[in-house]
Symmetry: C2
Subunit: 335 residues, 2 copies
Amino acid sequence: MKIDDNFYMKLAIDEAWKYQLITYPNPAVGCVIVKNGKLLAIEAHKEAGLPHAEINALKTAFLTQEPNSILKTKNNSSDIHNFLIQNHNGFFEDCEIFVTLEPCNHIGKTPSCAFLLSILNPKRVIISVEDPNKKASGGIETLKNKNIEVVKGVLKKDGEDLIFPFKTWQNKTCIFFKMAQTLNGMIDGQISSHRTKLYVHTLRDKIDLLMIGGNTVRTDKPNLDTRYVYGKNPDIFIYSRNKIFSQNIPLFTVPNRKVIVSDDLFKLLDYKFIMIEGVYNLLEILKDKIDFIVLLVNPKIRNGLNALNEIDLDFKILHENYLGDEKIIFLKRNF
Amino acid sequence: MKIDDNFYMKLAIDEAWKYQLITYPNPAVGCVIVKNGKLLAIEAHKEAGLPHAEINALKTAFLTQEPNSILKTKNNSSDIHNFLIQNHNGFFEDCEIFVTLEPCNHIGKTPSCAFLLSILNPKRVIISVEDPNKKASGGIETLKNKNIEVVKGVLKKDGEDLIFPFKTWQNKTCIFFKMAQTLNGMIDGQISSHRTKLYVHTLRDKIDLLMIGGNTVRTDKPNLDTRYVYGKNPDIFIYSRNKIFSQNIPLFTVPNRKVIVSDDLFKLLDYKFIMIEGVYNLLEILKDKIDFIVLLVNPKIRNGLNALNEIDLDFKILHENYLGDEKIIFLKRNF
């Protein structure tokens, strides 16, 4: 395998995917730092409010040289920024910094990543895709103005796949479909492991609306809460024509939650980040409304209700990860 | 992500998986070389008769320093061995060499990898699993006798998964099941892309017997040849009770092939490396005879015959790769 810019960018992209969706409303971003050919850091942005990928990677890289530096104790973006500006001592001047997305140029609570990089003066900054967010873009120019070599477009297609979810929620309501199945497409009953359920609860904590089919509500009588991760409980949209439900179903009694029972999809537009937890029939109904699919696959074959339906859809696999012994597959419609 | 022995071993393991089964009868092996923290080579053994993973990696690593060395023109194992013994000039003394399997100690047509490494005198040799093959093992001792630091057991479980197919064919007939399906388990008609078909033909070239169900033969009238890769055409075992087939079905007229029509599975033991190309009903019949499954998944959802059957099987995912836009999943029964 060739060890080149593509190789290091792939490491950054794969690392970023581990936090896909979890970084909402920020994009998933990864960063790799190589100093004189030595791989020093593979980091990602993990959650909105936590440091950007570049900051995590700069910190890790610096600590490989001075493992006992006080930097070790600094966890917020401002503190790491300030420390590095004062103490970098030319450490990054022979570094190549691979970022999946153009470093932000937006000065908010912290100085921008592009500004910090321009001070640290690395040998090269290698970027997969330019920032589609007008407010944060301009990072490449900031770097070039300081005569830092910038290479862009490395693994551009993979970089675009990585920020595809981010792009969907940038300017409109983002709707994704979550489905769990066995290898052979069986969807009955309890499919997923506890680890995968933890992940689903983490997603529920990030979204602002959870949509589910009326039949599933009647059959499963779910909570649809985030008890495994102590998160916030999203509002619920029960997709139903007849709109009659027993108020004893647990989801109705979860505090701080609005429950909408409706078949009017227009109401979805009041929300920004929507997960549909469904099976094939709901996918068939909503297939033209969804931006992407999160498919959770348990590696077993089971007899049971499965995809005997009229669905005929082609997908592109955006990415896959393991969730313990199971798989998570991010799919995008392929038209 | 931590950049440690596990990280580099994972790179070696993933590289080796790209050639899984293709190296038959040899094991799939990967090798990574790091010199003073610089990642120089990620290589694998690609096919029996071609150089071992270590040899490919040593060559790649050396060429990073002297890209125009005559070594560049040397492709067979002996030539690379001899060149490195004469010209290494201490290059590898500050190298760490990660190998997924204990370097071979067997002197055949070429000197053993362990012997070559003992001459090159690397700083450390890091090994995932010891060689289960008595004839080739002893490599660790050869290295230790030269006072080379050896670390073993790094990512041992992943290393064991990697050589699981090798272990199955070491002492007995290896039988694996190949199946193609859509995301939702649909198995009707043409599922796979041309790229995936090329891969299947490559597998057919490696195996010595291809088993298929009688009904599939009657319905599909297949060739079961290797025309896409100009390989050798395997013998065919048609699993059938009534044993009546039109001799006009193309597979019968492929030259240099024996066709067995039988329901006596004992006859399989005359062969060493058997692929079953089948669907769910054949899997149900043979589930206790197969060592592992190669599942080819096209990321689409289709209506059609799928896994509505009585199968109830749990798997462990040994590994996954992309085959172009599709997936190949190696599965092992989980009891």
